[in-house]
Amino acid sequence: MTHPHTHTAGRRTGNPAPHGGRSAAPVPPAAVPRRGPGGRRALVGLFWAGLVAAVLPWWLDTPAGSLDGSAAALTAAGRITGLVAGYLLLVQVLMMSRLGAFERSAGAERVSRWHRDVGATLLVAVLAHLSLIVVGYAAEGGRSVLGQAGELLADYEDMVGAFAAAGILVLLGLTGVRALRRALPYELWYHLHLASYLAVALGFGHQFSNGAQLFPPGPVRTGWIAAYALVVAALLWGRVVAPLRFNLRHRLRVADVVAESRDTVSIYLTGRRLHRLDLLGGQFLRWRFLAPGCWWQSHPFSVSAAANGRWLRLTVKVVGGHTADLREVEQGTRVWAQGPAGTFTAAHRRRERALLIAGGSGIAPLRAMLEELPPGAALIYRARTPDDVLLHRELDWLAQERGTDVWYVVGSRDDPGPRQVLSAPGLRKLVPDVARRDVYLCGPPGLVEQSVRALRAAGVPRRQIRLATFEL
């Protein structure tokens, strides 16, 4: 699979002088101001405070030294894990509420990573809660474990729903396993995930009818119900009210669909008041094209050009059933969008200089970001064949205008050229100060893994490596 055009040539260096030989008429806009990590830290702090607040009632209600005997200890552990599970479930729903606070200060990518980690923990907490309570109650009453489970189902209020909720969560946890998730079509997986709302509803009752801390009326019960109300409000705001406002304000429509290569299209959108759109290059929106066959699916795509007040553009590679339909979208089609979201932007940089590594259609967010980075950035663009190089005219132009170094690395993964570039010495040779740069990565998983390994070997701290991954 060696390609004849394998080469690492094509280096274009930006002008070293700030405004070069060209007239400085279109002065490139200054780099976007930075946005610090304050918002994200506040969210993390809130999370831990909430966790303490969730378990505190148990701690205060339980007299010290009262847990002698294994049955009492098991039941107590079951109560703790139950409170933790109840809290984590709310956190999970809240994180998926698409609130601007999460989407733009923590970043949708990071939030989805949190969602996965918290999800695994939640699953374990739910199973631990269930088994500890059943075993604990069985030991207290001197019954068999199965008999106790039957009694819980038959005699206790709301327990059938609670068991069903646990079953749903286990099922969802299984579909979260990476291998299985890959095997499922995204659409099916997405709709299965909606069942988690059912789990929240089914699990609601038993916390209050059988929860030792939540049954008696008082501040704890009120607070717990208030937390539920808050999460539902956040969900309504993030999923209904905010998108409604956004779309009524901007009214996006498809202006044009342009083929960029054999399997990639750019979709240009226009709308109203786009100059007031708070959009950063590298951010993405969730798009719903209101055309027959497409309207019921929403997909995240990055914009492939920074906000310019006149139009938006997304550049999409045709891979699935949905993206194939996008080629046939007609001009004038209304588009429902949610967002923008993401911290994969120039505003979230830590260092003054950046190295961007793109693979294939992963160039889209990086192309948009290039317009907003400070001068002196570098871009390594991996593509399989010369035909797969997208937007290269724009990239060349940006290299000129913004003093960016651009390298096109074309060839198959196993060719010596690409292999040499994407290794620690190769990276250091191209970008000698790589360890002092932010590195933005976007591309297929294989490339991302290989690059991260090489970058780490080249001495780039982990926190300076940013990934744009849409897997959720």
Binding site: S66, L67, D68, A72, A76, D117, G119, A212, G218
Partner: protein
């Protein structure tokens, strides 16, 4: 994924630590917030569980003529010495004697009996576990079976009552509080 594993380990370790901290008898008693119900039975019995049955009656005996309802409506404003005196009186003077608070893992039980002479004419549960809807229901069953002017307490005139199935712990606590009240009355 590594972080998820860390979080799960943290969950297990945290839960165990909390249970151990609360469970160890030598633990600091400071953090006893809201449940004021634990205090009436006195600091003498910090660990009240069915495992320490033997210790319980002694503890309740040491508590002096505790918890008498001051709102006793009929006669007997006379406190402790009254019981013996009234045995002689044929008149139906009723008095109320309250048993100690007995704790179990579901909550507290406290029984009050109404005596006419030496005869128990009524039994009231002042306190029963209502921690959850389930324990609430069990308590209702126990209360319905034992208490009242025609309940088992009045029928049998003793603390020798049938255990309510499914509510063993609460039945047991009820009998203990009742027995202590009867002892106190005679």
């Amino acid at each position: 994924m590594r972080r998820a594993l860390l979080a799960i380990t943290g969950l297990a370790a945290g839960t165990t630590a909390l249970v151990v901290l609360k469970g160890s008898p030598g633990a600091v008693q400071a953090a006893q917030g809201p449940p004021a119900a634990a205090s009436p039975s006195g600091g003498a019995t910090p660990s009240a569980d069915r495992a320490t049955l033997g210790a319980k009656p002694r503890a309740s005996a040491t508590t002096p003529a505790a918890t008498r309802t001051p709102t006793a409506r009929a006669t007997t404003a006379r406190p402790t010495s009254a019981p013996r005196a009234t045995t002689a009186a044929p008149r139906a003077t009723t008095r109320r004697v309250t048993g100690p608070v007995v704790e179990n893992e579901y909550g507290n039980v406290q029984v009050q009996i109404v005596l006419s002479g030496t005869r128990i004419v009524d039994a009231v549960a002042l306190e029963l576990p209502q921690e959850t809807a389930q324990s609430d229901r069990r308590s209702d069953q126990v209360d319905g079976r034992y208490s009242g002017t025609s309940g088992q307490v009045v029928q049998r005139q003793s603390a020798d009552l049938d255990t309510v199935s499914g509510a063993t712990a609460t039945s047991e606590s009820y009998r203990r509080s009742l027995q202590a009240a009867i002892d106190r009355a005679r």
